[in-house]
C-alpha cells in the first residue's frame, strides 16, 4: 500500500524553483495497477521519479511518501538505496537504452545485483524462470542488447526491475516506443506479474489512455502539476467529471473515424477545458474531493 500525502516537488532553475508537482495526495492499494495519465509536462514523470530517486535538479518541498506503513526517505539519496529495487522499483522510460550495449545481459544483471548486495547465482534459477515466463529463452543472458528486438529488451528490463519482488513498480512510458501488438504483450506481462505476486502494486505512467484502459485498475489524471481526477477505469473513461479529463478522453483516436467526421476536442477543446478550470480568484489549487465511492475530482471553475 502506497500512500502519498501532500507531496510537492520543485525543479531548481536559474530563475528560482519551479513547482512541478503540487500537493499531491493519493494512495495505491495492494494489488492495484494505477495508471497515471496527463500531457507532457503535467508532472506525471516527476511524480514517478520522486517515489524512487530525486535527480540533482529536483527538490523535495513538502509531503511524505509511505510504503506498507513505512515512510520512505525520499529526500535522502543514500538512505533510499536499500529501498530501491527491493521495495520500490522502476522500469525506465526508454527500455531500448536501459541495457548497457557493451555488456552481455547476464553479466549486466549480475553486476546490478552484486551492487545491491545480492547473490546472482542464488537468484539465477528464479531469473531464468521469469524469462521463460515472458517467452524469452534463457540464452538471452549470453546475448548483447543489440541482438534483441525492442519488445524483447522491454521484457528483459521488466524482468530485471521486478526480480526482487518490489512492493511498488513504477513503469514510466514503458509502451510508448513499441508498436501496438508489442505494447499489448508488455502490458499483459505487467498484469501477469501482479497476478503472480512478483509486484504488489504498480503505477503505470503514460499519455496513452487506451493502454491504461486495457491494463489498469484505476486512473489518476494530472494537469499542470496537480491531480485533477482519480477513479476506476470505468469511471474515468465512461463518466469523466473534470473538464480536463473530458478533454483527454475526447482526444482519444477512434479507429475508422476521421477527424473531419467528428467534433474533435482539439486546441479549442483544450482552451475551453482550461477556461472552465480557472476560477475568478485565479486559484486553481483545489484538493481532490470524493464525489462518489472511489471517484475523486478536483474542484474547478466557480464551484
Amino acid at each position: 500500500m502506497l500512500t502519498v500525502d501532500n507531496l510537492s516537488i520543485a525543479y531548481r532553475a536559474l530563475s528560482g524553483d519551479v513547482l512541478a508537482l503540487k500537493n499531491a495526495s493519493f494512495s495505491v492499494a495492494d494489488g492495484e495497477i494505477m495508471g497515471l495519465a496527463g500531457e507532457s509536462g503535467s508532472g506525471k514523470s516527476t511524480l514517478g521519479r520522486a517515489l524512487i530517486k530525486l535527480d540533482n535538479r529536483m527538490r523535495h518541498v513538502s509531503g511524505t511518501v509511505s510504503l506498507d506503513g513505512e515512510t520512505l526517505p525520499i529526500d535522502d539519496d543514500r538512505a533510499m538505496i536499500p529501498y530501491r529495487f527491493k521495495r520500490v522499483s522502476i522500469v525506465p522510460q526508454y527500455a531500448m537504452s536501459a541495457l548497457n550495449p557493451t555488456r552481455r545481459i547476464g553479466r549486466m544483471i549480475s553486476e546490478l545485483l552484486t551492487s545491491r548486495g545480492m547473490d546472482f547465482d542464488k537468484l539465477r534459477p528464479e531469473l531464468e524462470r521469469r524469462l521463460l515466463l515472458v517467452d524469452l529463452p534463457v540464452e538471452v543472458l549470453t546475448r548483447y542488447p543489440i541482438e534483441l528486438s525492442g519488445g524483447q529488451k522491454q521484457r528483459v528490463v521488466t524482468v530485471i526491475s521486478t526480480l526482487l519482488n518490489p512492493s511498488l513498480l513504477i513503469a514510466d512510458e514503458i509502451t510508448s516506443a513499441l508498436d501496438v501488438s508489442t505494447q499489448k504483450a508488455v502490458a499483459r506481462s505487467l498484469v501477469e506479474f501482479r497476478d503472480r505476486g512478483f509486484i504488489k502494486s504498480a503505477i503505470v505512467i503514460t499519455h496513452d489512455l487506451s493502454i491504461l484502459a486495457q491494463m489498469a485498475d484505476s486512473i489518476l489524471v494530472m494537469h499542470g502539476g496537480r491531480l485533477v481526477e482519480r477513479g476506476s477505469v470505468k469511471a474515468i473513461v465512461d463518466a469523466p467529471m473534470h473538464p480536463y479529463t473530458k478533454h483527454l478522453i475526447g482526444s482519444l483516436p477512434e479507429v475508422g473515424v476521421r477527424y473531419a467526421d467528428r467534433k474533435l476536442a482539439g486546441v479549442s477543446g483544450l482552451n475551453a477545458a482550461l477556461e472552465a478550470m480557472s476560477s475568478p480568484d485565479g486559484d486553481r489549487d483545489r484538493p481532490l474531493r470524493e464525489i462518489s465511492p472511489g471517484h475523486w475530482v478536483a474542484a474547478w471553475g466557480q464551484a
Partner: protein
Amino acid sequence: MTVSGKDEPPPRPLAPATPAVAALPAAVAPVRRRNEALYYALRNRKLVIGFTIVLVFLLIAIIGPSFSRHEPLAYDGPPGIGPSADYWLGTTMFGQDIYSQFVSGLRASFLVGLFGGGLAAIVGMFIGFIAGYRGGIVDEILSMLTNIVLVIPTFAVLLVVAAYLSVRGIGSEAVFIGFTSWPWAARAIRSQTFSLTSRDFVDMARLSGRSTLQIIFGEIAPNMSSYLLLTFILLFGGAVLTAATLDFIGLGPTNGISLGLMMNYSVMNAALQLGMWWWFIPPGIAIAAIVGALYVMNVGLDEVFNPKLREA
C-alpha cells in the same frame, strides 16, 4: 482490486505465438560481432597504411640501436661524409654517426609520444569523466579550469619553463607536454560522457547503488572506447610534434638526442647550405611520416568504428 479479465483470456499467453528464439540470431553472433571491427580494419586502406608506417618506425626505434656501431654523440668518425658502408646515413660535421643519432632520436620521440600523450590522455579522461558525469558545480569548476588551460598560449609557457630548467630530459619534456595538451581531450570526453550519462542504463546502475567509479569505468567508458583510443592517438601525434618543435628551437633534452635536436644541430651548422642532406632529411621525414601516419590512422579507425563512415 483486480479488474482485468473481463473480456480478456485468463492471464497467460503474454507474448507472440512465434518462439522468441527465432528472432535471435544464431549462436555465433557475439563472435561475429567481435571480428566485425577487425574485418573492417583489415580492409581499411588508410588504417593499414598508417599503421604499417608507424609500425615500421617503431621497429626501427626498438631494434635499430642494437645495430649501431657508434655512440650517437661520440665524435669518432670522419667529419661530414655522406652515406657509406661504414656510416649508413653518413656523419655530421663533427664526425658523429647519423644512423645512431637517428635510431636513438626515434626511440626518444616514441617515448615522448607515449608518455606525453598518455599523460595528457589520463588527465583529459579524468577531468572529462568527472565533469561530464557529475555535472553541476563540479562541471563548472572543471570546465573553467579546462578553458583556462586551453586559452593559455601553451607553447609560450613551454618555452619559458624549458628555458628555466638547466637539466632537461625526455621525461620532463613528456611531463610538460602531458600537462598542457589535455584540455581539448577533456572537453571532448566531457561532452561524450554528458550524453552517455543521460542514458537509462546509467540511471539503472545509479539506482542500484553502484559507485561513481564503477559507473564511469563499467557503464560509460566501454561505450566510448573507440573514442578514447582515437583521443590517445591524436595526443600521441601531437606530443611527438610538440617535442620535435621544442627540440628544434633548442629547448630539447640537454643530455640526449632526439629527432628535433638533430634538425636543430643541422640547421645551426648550415647543413642545408653545405649540401649535407643526409643530416636533416632522415629526422625530417621520420617526424612528418609518423605524425602524418598517426593522423591517417585516426581517420581510418574512425571509419572502422563508425559504420556510417564505412566506404563499402
